[in-house]
């Protein structure tokens, strides 16, 4: 099925307030995507998996994207069907101040780690997740690095996160710069 057909089928079944706003302009996006109401994401995913005409049995990727200018965090789901060989891209637009949406661990188990990673790096809360802890960063890390306004701390438990510039540290003479200095003097 084409993404357009999948979109139409989902919209007919679940209503235009759950699944909406298909973007299929090839100049803007190479993979057509549509929006899903965040509260309904689990229902939509269940339909995608259980409907024999859609049969999406493989959740490829969960990505979080931060858009500070729009005050949104977008969670993107790439879903694939092994049997029917079609792909769908779903997007959930969340409020940046309090990003949260239901988990889909019950639909695809692989969402478990991917949601944890998304929580870790972007701070999206997946409600009902069985084990929402940091995955890649230490438990006591502050902030979520993939947010656009993230500022790296100078140190972590006394370990500096910034290395001194070796050129300055070892007083290495850079030939090009020396000449310029000589000219200026």
């Amino acid at each position: 099925m084409t993404p357009e057909a999948i979109f139409k089928r989902l919209q007919d079944e679940l209503g235009a307030e759950t699944v909406f706003d298909l973007q299929a302009d090839p100049a803007k996006t190479k993979d057509p995507w549509f929006k899903v109401a965040p509260a309904q994401i689990e229902k939509v995913c269940e339909r995608l998996k259980d409907d024999p005409e859609l049969a999406c049995d493989y959740l490829e990727c969960i990505t979080g994207v931060d858009y500070p200018t729009d005050k949104k965090i977008v969670v993107v789901y790439h879903v694939y069907s092994y049997t029917l060989k079609h792909r769908v891209v779903l997007k959930c637009f969340l409020d940046r101040a309090a990003p949260s949406l239901p988990t889909i661990v019950n639909v695809w188990s692989t969402a478990n780690w991917q949601e944890r990673e998304c929580f870790d790096l972007l701070g999206v809360i997946f409600e009902g997740h069985p084990d929402l802890r940091r995955l890649l960063l230490p438990d006591d890390w502050e902030g979520h690095p993939l947010r656009k306004d993230y500022k790296e701390k100078d140190d972590y438990h006394g370990i500096p996160t910034v290395r001194p510039n070796p050129v300055e540290l070892f007083q290495i003479k850079v030939p090009g710069k020396d000449k310029e200095g000589a000219k200026a003097s």
Binding site: A27, K30, Y58, D66, V89, L135, P145
Partner: protein, 379 residues
């Protein structure tokens, strides 16, 4: 008195710390194992020791400038991350890749697949306790490293692919060297089978250990050899037919459960052995067909300014399965968001679910058979 202590000890669950510097963990990763004697109750994988925030680095570099960093996504099979990033950018900016460059990509990737599987197979045998296959496998990997070094100058982090093509054509005489090695490689794989794959002790050790059914594999998002070992016949090279793979003939080995259930650890080993043979077949054909396309036509036409606006998700079949790269451009020289989806990451997710009830020693077999590479989990 001693009996009382003994009884208490029998009741207690033992907490074992495996890693982060354990010889069988394939990189720096750690498992917190709760076990009842030798039987595992619960395993909590603790990853992130090698997190280098590749995705954040991607947001700070230009599109071509990010290429060397992609090597570090998976340093055992760096060619695939190169290819994945190049493919994603080409899809985003609608760049055509010349045929010769595509053949060179296929050749380099398939050679890299063999060398990566050689590490996987050798290391898995060593984890189980067979030391000999490891140097045997690494000897072949060393040849491939030499070939790739001649091709692009690096042995581990290749930085060979470019957006729109590859960086160098084959050097003179390279093809004959590779073909000569391939002639030797086929009998060596037969020898390898006799040495370890069909070795009775090895088979009995791994058959029926940590069986992953096809449904479980799909549910947990296993990809590549791990998925195929569970009996799901799906290969991105066949399903998507990207690059020049439709022009080449090869089979997709699928786990059959020859000595136990479909999807046991031995199947995962065997699928990799067979994939090495198929890759050798592909390299032969590609080396044969590459001269149909003019020499040095290895770089596509690039836009003057790489400032795409839009998004694309590209996939390649890496040595560890379906590798995806999601790139969003917002009209700047740097991508707005880069995301890598890797096979090891999802494979690691299943360890916690599959291990309860296994023996401690079988946990080592499970991890080794999934062929996880720590940097690919953490990125």
């Amino acid at each position: 008195m001693s009996e009382v202590i003994f009884a208490n000890e029998m009741d207690e669950e033992m907490t074992l710390n495996m890693g982060p510097h354990h010889p069988s963990t394939h990189g720096v990763l750690r498992f917190i194992v709760q076990s009842d004697g030798e039987i595992i109750r619960k395993v909590t994988p603790d990853v992130g020791y090698l997190h280098r925030s590749i995705e954040k680095i991607g947001e700070r570099n230009t599109y071509p400038g990010f290429m060397p960093y992609t090597d570090r996504v998976d340093y055992v099979a760096a060619m695939f991350a190169n290819e994945c990033w190049a493919t994603a950018c080409e899809k985003l900016m609608a760049i055509e890749v010349p045929k010769r460059a595509q053949y060179l990509r296929v050749i380099s990737c398939e050679l890299n697949r063999i060398s990566s599987h050689m590490v996987a197979l050798g290391a898995m045998a060593m984890d189980i306790g067979a030391v000999t296959p490891f140097p045997w496998a690494l000897r072949e990997r060393e040849y491939i490293n030499d070939f790739v070094e001649e091709l692009c100058g690096a042995r581990l982090t290749y930085n060979y692919h470019r957006i729109g093509g590859v960086s160098f054509d084959m050097p003179k005489g390279w093809r004959d060297k590779v073909l000569r090695w391939l002639d030797n490689f086929d009998p060596i794989m037969l020898e390898f089978d006799r040495l370890i794959t069909l070795n009775d002790i090895f088979v009995r050790r791994l058959a029926n250990v940590a069986v992953i059914t096809g449904a479980e594999a799909k549910d947990w998002g296993l990809v590549g050899p791990n998925l195929r070992a569970s009996g799901v016949e799906w290969d991105l090279r066949k399903a998507d037919g990207y690059s020049v793979y439709p022009e080449l003939e090869f089979d997709v080995p699928v786990g059959k459960g020859q000595f136990g259930a479909v999807g046991d650890s031995w199947d995962r080993f065997w699928v990799r052995v067979e994939e090495c043979r198929e890759s050798a077949k592909i390299v032969r054909q590609a080396l044969d067909k590459i001269d149909e396309h003019p020499e040095d036509d290895i770089a596509g036409k690039l836009p003057k300014k790489m400032r795409p606006d839009g998004e694309a998700y590209a996939r390649v079949e890496s040595a560890r399965g379906d590798m995806g790269c999601y790139v969003i451009g917002k009209g700047a020289e740097e991508p707005y968001r880069v995301r890598f989806r890797t096979g090891s990451f999802t494979a690691m997710g299943i360890v916690g679910a599959k291990s309860p009830g296994l023996f401690l020693a079988d946990l080592v077999a499970l991890i080794a058979s999934l062929d996880v590479v720590a940097p690919e989990i953490d990125r």
